[in-house]
Symmetry: C2
Subunit: 453 residues, 2 copies
């Protein structure tokens, strides 16, 4: 009988128990945890949050079958690491109980020649299915779909359908059967709840739903997710250009897509990859972080080079050195707010060509008002600090200009980057702060050179 204790606490409890047993060297207990007590997803989670040594240990405790069940739940870094230790025979052995779509995802983590080897060892019918799945990029509807379809014809009765179902093993998340014609073209769906509530002699045609369209196999996974969200779907049919039914997508895969794209948005702003192993050894972590530090060093030196053009001015008025970073950072903040709103608006589909003009003018208006507001306050602080009203006027003017430029840049950069096929979430902030630093230093220091010397 189920208890009411939160499952997460149970999971934490098991995790602690497993790690304790490992520590104590109680191998029987570890084996029991690995064999029975923990679900594959929980084992994967524990392995992901452990250092390398513990991972290897746990992995060796798992039977081939358990290894196969755990693999799809691991991040790509770990999948690659474990798959790299196996040859084609072992990979096939380990993954034999997996769904075809999970297997296809795993095969994309290993070198092409090994993939070909694994495929050549598979029974021809399985091979054809998996090859079909591999033909679609991972981030499309075709890459997400599974092929565990149950199809019926529109002209049969529910009684026939029920008799047919009793002979099958039904897949998970079965909420609808797919209705197809003789050419296997998708024509509608039959919710299984209707099988329960309608008379057995009813023909499928009479109660099938034809308002859910087939998802084209080439549709991007983000758009697939949006469709699931908008229509509250549990599963949806995937079709090719001719409308032939290829497979189905279930909501559990869509949940993963949403989670991954969320993680991507957050991680890429810091130059990180959401599939990275956060428990990677020092050397790997250092390498993956170094690239981003290098890019940012370049942008910092660009700003420094701009500032160094004004060394003569700064030598005369040292306050300029102190206040320059303030001007630059206010622009950075204002710009990144606009940038974030725009990137999110593009992702949700709220920002379109037809309302872009309105949005940009709104951002400009808001940037100008905030510019004047904070320019006044910063000007006042400057007077209080340095007793210099000319300096205050110069910094105020620089703040207004930098905020307006920042907001313009924040509003237009995502579109510019996207049209150059650069991910705005990854590059947006770097490019933006380079602009706001350069413009901030340039306006503040050149206005100072003109009016204060």
């Amino acid at each position: 009988m189920p208890t009411t204790s939160p499952h997460l606490e149970q999971h934490d409890h098991d995790r602690a128990g497993l790690l304790q047993a490992l520590e104590a060297g109680d191998l029987d207990k570890v084996q029991r945890y690995c064999d029975e007590d923990l679900a594959p997803a929980d084992l994967a989670h524990i392995m992901e949050s452990s250092p390398g040594r513990v991972r290897e240990l746990l992995w060796d405790f798992l039977s081939d079958e358990r290894q196969g069940a755990v693999l799809p739940h691991l991040n790509e870094d770990l999948q690659q690491a474990f798959l790299a230790q196996m040859n084609a025979h072992e990979i096939l052995e380990t993954t034999q109980d997996l769904d075809h779509d999970d297997l296809a995802d795993l095969l994309q983590q290993i070198p092409e020649p090994v993939t070909r080897q694994v495929l050549s060892l598979m029974p021809p019918s399985d091979r054809a299915t998996v090859e079909g799945l591999l033909a679609y990029p991972e981030d499309t509807a075709g890459g997400l779909m599974n092929t565990d379809l149950i199809t019926v014809r529109a002209d049969v009765t529910l009684e026939t359908v029920l008799r047919y179902l009793r002979r099958l093993e039904l897949p998970d998340h079965l909420d609808s059967l797919w209705v197809v014609n003789r050419q296997f073209r998708y024509v509608g769906l039959l919710p299984i709840t209707k099988l329960l509530t309608h008379a057995p002699e009813t023909p499928v045609r009479e109660i099938m739903q034809d308002d859910i369209e087939g998802i084209p196999a080439t549709l991007h996974e983000d758009q697939v997710a949006r469709r699931f969200e908008r229509l509250d779907l549990v599963s949806a049919p995937v079709v090719n250009d001719e409308g032939i039914l290829l497979g189905r997508i279930t909501v559990d895969d869509v949940v993963d897509v949403i989670r991954d794209s969320a993680d991507h948005a957050v991680m890429s702003m810091a130059g990180l990859d959401e599939e990275d192993d956060i428990f990677a050894p020092v050397i790997r972590t250092t390498r993956s972080r170094a690239v981003w530090l290098g890019i940012n060093m370049l942008t910092a030196f660009i700003a420094a080079a701009v500032m160094s053009q004004f060394e003569a001015t700064i030598a005369q008025i040292v306050a300029l050195a102190v206040l320059s970073p303030v001007v630059a950072s206010m622009g950075g903040i204002a710009g990144s707010q606009t940038l974030t709103v725009m990137i999110r608006g593009m992702a949700t589909g709220h920002v379109k060509r037809d309302n872009l003009g309105w949005l940009i003018s709104r951002e400009l208006g808001s940037g100008a008002v905030n510019g004047v507001l904070w320019a006044s306050i910063i000007g006042a602080i400057t007077i209080g600090w340095y007793q210099d009203s000319d300096l205050a006027l110069v910094i105020a003017a620089a703040i207004v200009i930098n905020l307006v430029v920042a907001v313009c840049a924040g509003a237009t950069l995502p579109f510019l980057l996207k049209s150059l096929r650069i991910d705005p979430a990854l590059a947006g902030t770097v490019v933006l702060t380079t602009i706001t630093d350069v413009v901030g230093f340039l306006t503040f220091l050149s206005l100072a050179t003109l009016f204060l010397l």
Copy 2:
């Protein structure tokens, strides 16, 4: 018959058509779009991505019933705006077809007295249900659940269950029936696919599943979402402390939770609220952005105040003014990478007390290695630029120190902020960059004062 055209394109097409009809003053066409052609979620999406004038226009085209269907799909800002225009009678009229959980969510957007008025106008049984839902905070399992339960007893046969179902109108996302005992305590679930594949005389007890625990009504929605993800659920039972079945949560609500928490993570890093209306008028946008600019201005002035302590040094060596921002920004980048990894690790549950020490030492190691690497490179650039090897040594030392401090701060801040009940996603970056700016300026300029003057 469904076509294979991507639904999103259809949605874009409808949106363009609707806006065109509005523009052209073709009111019959607008009315048709509002009455039939567009799904409530699509209408809500179009309204969210339109300026205020268009929204009001479209809203007036909607019948009471359609208004009610659209409301739950709007962001909170818009829900509040439209609900504020109605009195209690109108709200009840408009929302009469909504599920109880959607109604409860809406009632949380209006002032308490109006909520009480609406409740007092409802039939007693509905009122009791909605009041029960309002008792749970919006962000808990109780706040997410719906009360459209179909329950059965363990001792009846499938035939009885089937007969019972035929008399009901089945709710959406019905994948399981809930098995309860005489006290309405949750004891297990009966997947409806089993109704199709097992003989009618089978008792429920024999085929019910008891491995899915009831979700406590007080569990936080993020943990509910994690459980759905881990166990690939479509629906799950919600229970109180005594294990009494209160309601069920369906995956469509969980998808919204995941999407919202993702949006929250991204938006709060720029000091924005994910429920804000991105098409709000200039004045509202300006106000919501101003707070964040003000906070950041304070931190910028803290850094400036630190720098101003060294004005005498800067006056003698102007290069220090040029290079200070480089030191500060390298620390900011390194720290925010660690911060992001930690915040995400906490959200996914990968970072725990038992592996925190390992993670911090790993981050420190990586910070030190990257510190030495980039200190050498920046030192070399400085020699090339200013032909001053002492200056190069000073900036290199400052970079190493700032990167190590930044990484420590990034690793520990999330826990510190969380224990102070401050959202790390919101405050983390601000606090972190204040630290890296202050430490960067302080080490670089004081080392320079000590060794270069």
